[in-house]
């Protein structure tokens, strides 16, 4: 069972397909869960601690805005763990503020830098593209080995 980073990290479809074909999807929910169950928030409902942007320094330089570094404290450990990645190009719903946009760019850059098996796809817009989409992911995951086909 390989750990597969999914981008967009909140994607329902990628998370489902990776788990369905016997691998572990690494999405933002895992980091968020770990974060909120650990405690340490001084002023709930704030969901980030002053330590998080410091942790983010491991993946982003000090001149990078703290919003990006804070996000990287969630995504960075997942990227370290990832053994493969699935990226959806131009995914409309990953659109967000500048913090999100820059973090997304950094995420894709780091995944490509890491040299792990990676597949880039687009969201399907027809039934035929749906077959291609699922077949591409299924083939990619099967090549990683260790799944439950």
């Amino acid at each position: 069972m390989a750990k597969v980073f999914i981008y967009p990290a909140t994607s329902l479809m990628l998370s489902d397909l990776v788990a369905r074909f016997g691998h572990k999807p690494l999405g933002s929910a895992l980091s968020v869960r770990e974060h909120i169950q650990a405690g340490g928030f001084d002023s709930p409902p704030l969901q980030i601690t002053p330590e998080d942007p410091k942790k983010g320094l491991h993946w982003a330089a000090v001149e990078v805005p703290s919003g990006v570094r804070g996000r990287m404290s969630l995504y960075g450990p997942l990227i370290e763990e990832a053994e493969a990645a699935i990226i959806i190009e131009d995914s409309d719903f990953a659109f967000g503020c500048m913090g999100c946009a820059r973090t997304n760019e950094l995420l894709i850059f780091l995944l490509k830098q890491k040299g792990i098996p990676l597949i880039e796809l687009s969201y399907p817009k027809t039934k035929e593209e749906g077959v291609t989409f699922v077949a591409s992911i299924k083939t990619f995951l099967a090549e990683l080995g260790g799944g439950e086909e």
Binding site: L12, D16, A29, R33, E128, G130
Partner: protein, 152 residues
């Protein structure tokens, strides 16, 4: 400063979405309660949320997936159900993250079709079907401006 007491420590929550002509969220909820054995099930408009220890949750969601394998989609959730930071009962308006789900559920019919078609395919057929599709590039800005000039 308010003390922060994390809730449901050691549990995980999974969303189970259904977009099917034959299975409803209510069907999922009833099936989930049948095998729940005390873990938390929350029925929603799109399916159910299951909260419990990782083993228990895996057992329940696998049961739910079998109800309608090509139309049930499962993903992890970071927050437990009803968390004040996410629950729309406290916030008003859509729950953060709802728009993403709404967008992807709109594509589920294509994915469901893909799952059904690829289910019986052999590895060679899968490879053949896995050729990446290329869309036509968006309209060039220069071309667009020339069209506008022609029209006006």
């Amino acid at each position: 400063m308010k003390e922060y007491n994390p809730e449901y420590v050691g549990t995980e929550t999974k969303y189970v979405f259904v977009e099917s002509p034959t299975t409803t969220p209510q069907d999922l909820a009833i099936a989930a309660y049948e095998v729940a054995m005390g873990i938390m099930i929350k029925e929603t408009c799109f399916g159910v949320q299951v909260t419990g220890t990782p083993d228990e949750v895996a057992r329940v969601v696998e049961r739910l997936r079998k109800l309608d394998p090509f139309h049930v989609f499962i993903k992890d959730r970071g927050f437990p159900p009803g968390d004040e930071r996410r629950c729309r009962a406290n916030l008003g308006g859509s729950r953060p993250g709802y728009l993403g789900h709404e967008y992807e559920i709109g594509l589920s019919r294509f994915i469901s079709h893909g799952l059904k078609e690829t289910d019986t395919m052999k590895p060679e057929e899968l490879k053949k079907s896995a050729q990446p599709f290329k869309r036509e590039p968006p309209l060039d800005i220069g071309e667009l401006s020339s069209i506008i000039k022609e029209e006006t």
